[in-house]
């Protein structure tokens, strides 16, 4: 038996009424103590920040005698930037793409000079692009060249949607640029073969990993060195091997305070503190533990056996600047689209 409450003529709720009601309820919820920091991050950083956050909370409590909570939002780096622009109220961003922070700066949400506000271009850690191959490296993958051979199938995230994928693309291009001495035709045919070997394009780094590991698709997974090592740790070195190519790209992991929201959330100090914390030795050690390369010399030395010497190309050196690279390669009808056309 269904019983309905009596229909009140007043029910004919107006747009504003409904919206206000819902909105008021949600903002009432957001006002609750203790203070809550929202970190918007790229999608393969879940475990990393799940480890960082408790440490930070303890550190903050020790320094300021205030207990806080940290919430995480993860997604493709670009998706996250879009969400923030559309109103996702993140206090800080910890991305894997300089461009995605730039977009926020252009929108006035992040300070113009954000790269100068923290050391190393506001990148507390960095990584590069590496390969994960199946046990015994049956296809003999050593370098980018090997990835363009017939019969080698690749898995990496879609460069259109994933910063991770973009690095992979730029790394391959950077390698080809070096190998063919800037000969456009050779580079393009190299890239065409490279992209032609892709078996699956997932939207994000995690999807690609799942495809490779759980679904058993592809011969090579191309992703961040840190991720590659994590997978090997997670699934055991029995099944997979890591190959770090002699030449690859420098992947920076920029961080920034989302000024606009941090202020509005009255979290400015907390947000700054969070980013500061990432540069502390304690945090750097934690980051290195997650196979990210760090700048803290002491910690870097400690973990040096984990990170093979490799030549890291800078995006700015090859492509001029991030905006240039984005425009030329990833815009609609850009180089990537051209290469994939057939």
């Amino acid at each position: 038996m269904i019983r309905l409450s009596s229909p009140r003529p007043l029910f004919a709720a107006s747009a504003v009424g409904l919206t206000l009601m819902l909105g008021a309820l949600s903002s009432a919820q957001a006002q609750e103590e203790p203070r809550e920091l929202l970190n918007s991050s790229y999608d393969i950083a879940r475990e990393l920040f799940a480890a960082v956050n408790p440490q930070f909370i303890a550190w903050w409590e020790q320094q300021h005698d205030e207990s806080v909570t940290v919430k995480q939002s993860h997604g493709g780096s670009s998706t996250q930037a879009r969400s923030i622009m559309q109103g996702l109220r993140a206090d800080v961003v910890t991305f894997n793409q300089v461009t995605d922070v730039n977009v926020l700066a252009d929108a006035g949400l992040v300070a113009e000079d954000w790269q100068d506000q923290y050391p190393n271009n506001a990148s507390p850690y960095y990584s590069t692009t590496a390969f994960l191959v199946r046990k015994g490296n049956p296809k003999g993958i050593e370098s980018w060249d090997d990835l363009t051979r017939d019969g080698v199938s690749l898995v990496f995230p879609n460069p259109k949607t994933s910063g991770n994928g973009r690095y992979t693309y730029l790394a391959a291009w950077g390698y080809a640029d070096q190998a063919f001495d800037g000969d456009e035709d050779d580079i393009e045919s190299f890239m065409q073969r490279f992209l032609g070997n892709v078996e699956v394009f997932d939207t994000g780094g995690r999807g690609a990993t799942t495809t490779f590991v759980e679904r058993g698709i592809g011969d090579v997974l191309i992703t961040f060195e840190s991720e590659v090592n994590n997978i090997r740790d997670e699934y055991g070195s029995d099944d997979y091997e890591v190959v770090v190519p002699p030449v690859s790209i420098l992947a920076e992991f920029p961080v920034a305070v989302v000024q606009e929201y941090a202020e509005r959330n009255a979290n400015e100090d907390l947000a700054k503190g969070y980013l500061d914390y990432l540069y502390t030795e304690e945090a750097q050690r934690l980051l290195a533990g997650f196979n990210y390369r760090v700048n803290d010399e002491g910690v870097a030395a400690e973990f040096s056996d984990r990170f093979p010497q490799t030549e890291l190309l800078r995006v700015e050196d090859i492509f001029g600047s991030w905006p240039d690279a984005m425009e030329t390669h990833f815009s609609s009808g850009g180089e990537l689209d051209q290469l994939q056309r057939r």
């Binding site: 029910f11 747009a15 622009m85 699956v200 394009f201 939207t203 994939q340």
Partner: protein, 284 residues
């Protein structure tokens, strides 16, 4: 304004509640359905025709239309056959567990599409329960268009079953008997007599399954490879464009999907109306 205009006829309305229900319905429809949809139109109106045309004819997008149509087409055809079989078996035969099977038919509507997608991807990937059996045969389902069609088929199974079933139930026994007393063999009788009766329901169900498949997202993205020109579906393209902050592009593609779906629904309704008219009288 609108309410008072409609209210002119109030004297003739016997039952109460016209104003109230009209108010509630219009408010709801405007707020929940129309207002958001106008924002899509608003977004589109910022584009010129040539820009719009350029956006929706991007080769990669064109390929995704193909993949989506192929997947949805195969899924709809599969469901036409499977749905007809299931409706037939559930109406015409008695067997142990029939009620259970009948209930199970609605599973795809009850099960969240994301769960369906994750599960199908797990089952059909090369180390999944089914994928493992297919792999040695050189058949791969996950991350190919077959997988897309499979996920689409799964989520739209109930459409055909549930539209054909009641029609078959209502089919008088005399129709069978008339055919049999006239000497028709099963095959002939089914093709020439039963099938035409089911035809409107079958086409409607298949059409709905097709429309649903065109827009399916949750179940498909887990099993679609997302490889440009090969396993990229149109819904995914919208999602991708959203992630590139390309709202104009996303809206343009969305408008295509929306228009196609609405046109198909309308066509189904019109066709059904005409068909039914012919069967239930109305002299030409």
């Amino acid at each position: 304004m609108i309410v008072s205009a409609f209210g002119l006829g109030r004297q003739r309305r016997v039952l109460p509640g016209f104003g109230l229900s009209l108010g509630v319905s219009l408010t709801f429809v405007s707020l929940i359905l129309l207002l958001p949809l106008t924002s899509l139109v608003g977004q589109l109106s910022q584009l010129s025709w040539s820009q719009y045309w350029f956006l929706i004819t991007d080769p990669r997008l064109l390929a995704s239309y193909g993949v989506t149509l192929l997947g949805a087409g195969v899924a709809a055809l599969f469901n036409a056959a499977f749905g007809l079989l299931m409706a037939w078996v559930l109406v015409r035969y008695d067997f142990p567990g029939k009620r259970l099977v009948d209930a199970l038919m609605d599973l795809p509507f009850a099960l969240p599409t994301a769960v369906a997608g994750v599960t199908l991807a797990t089952l059909y990937s090369s180390n999944g329960w089914i994928g493992r059996l297919l792999d040695p045969l050189g058949l791969s389902v996950a991350y190919t268009w077959v997988g897309i069609a499979l996920a689409m088929a799964f989520t739209s199974i109930p459409f055909v079953v549930r539209t054909v079933q009641p029609v078959l139930e209502d089919l008088p026994a005399e129709v069978d008997e008339a055919a049999v007393t006239l000497g028709a063999r099963d095959g002939h009788a089914f093709r020439r007599v039963i099938l035409p009766y089911l035809w409107p329901a079958l086409v409607t169900g298949t059409g709905l399954a097709f429309v649903r498949s065109l827009g399916e997202f949750g179940a498909v993205i887990f099993i679609a490879g997302g490889k440009p020109y090969e396993t990229e579906i149109t819904s995914l393209m919208i999602f991708v464009k959203l992630q590139e902050y390309d709202y104009a592009g996303a809206s343009a593609v969305a408008s295509i999907v929306l228009a196609t779906s609405l046109a198909l629904l309308l066509a189904i309704n019109l066709w059904q109306g005409r068909f039914i008219k012919r069967l239930h009288g109305g002299r030409p």
